[in-house]
Subunit: 117 residues, 3 copies
């Protein structure tokens, strides 16, 4: 069974299938600092995961896109403080321009359903 939450005509913010949760790419508020965009992005990830019956402790993989690799350290400082120790996901980070030029960070999160793990 496929379950979808927060669906628009273009995408579902959450798709759940076989105990796995797929979130649509999350960003922060355009125009803010890299640190603030990262914080807001992670806050939105938390909200969506909770809604999906998952949590930050159940993230399997996160792919991070930065608009410019020079933001790597600023993003990581927020990420490192946020990751649940003992529950760190697999991760990859590459440079990709995002949907709007004033967006600096996007995260693609795959997680496990909480009661499944």
């Amino acid at each position: 069974m496929i379950e979808r939450f927060e669906q628009t005509p273009r995408m579902s913010r959450i798709v759940r299938h076989n105990g796995v949760v797929y979130l649509c790419g999350q960003v922060g508020n355009a125009g803010e600092s890299v640190a603030d965009q990262t914080k807001e992005c992670l806050r939105r990830v938390e909200v969506l995961l909770e809604q999906a019956g998952s949590s930050p402790k159940h993230i399997l993989q996160t792919v991070i896109w930065l608009s410019d690799m020079k933001h790597f350290d600023e993003m990581n400082a927020v990420w490192d403080a946020w990751v649940e120790q003992g529950h760190a996901p697999a991760r990859a980070c590459g440079e990709a321009k995002l949907a709007r030029p004033d967006l600096q960070v996007e995260m693609i999160v795959t997680a496990a359903v909480a009661d499944d793990s």
Copy 2:
């Protein structure tokens, strides 16, 4: 069990495992307009999903790469008209140059096997 379809020495166009279908990155015809490349890309996705025992209604996640973010609206116009309403996948879209300079859009699709959902 892992099942592979349309296998070349380099990759399998379809890999199926545990009720989930992984497609290799799909593109349209090089040199055509962004809209036409998007249409052809989505047509190929449909063919592969059908072959895999899935369908556009069973897509879990689509990651979209555009060679230039200026193509965002042109790609989205085709995408929005194509998505099965009520069955929209999770989605992310970032800028990445593709294997050939005259390719403008590539989609990485993960889907559920149809009888599994």
Copy 3:
């Protein structure tokens, strides 16, 4: 159940869940040739997959990032020789600058647990 191996405060090199293995993005040695970085990247993938109870024959999907698409043929020559014939994964390859400017290739690997397939 989620199992994590080779965990740092930032990420886990291996995450295993529901018979699927997620590796963190793998690279080679910065500054070496594209061919050598690709070989070392694939060697690291092999080591991690073995540790995860998987193998190169069980890769479901590989997303490849190249710092510059001009490296496509050089990376592919190593990849093509490495892929287990009859066990080729789904694959996508796009251009993305990586965490360090002297890194040229990164691979994001998803695989099946071996006894599961």
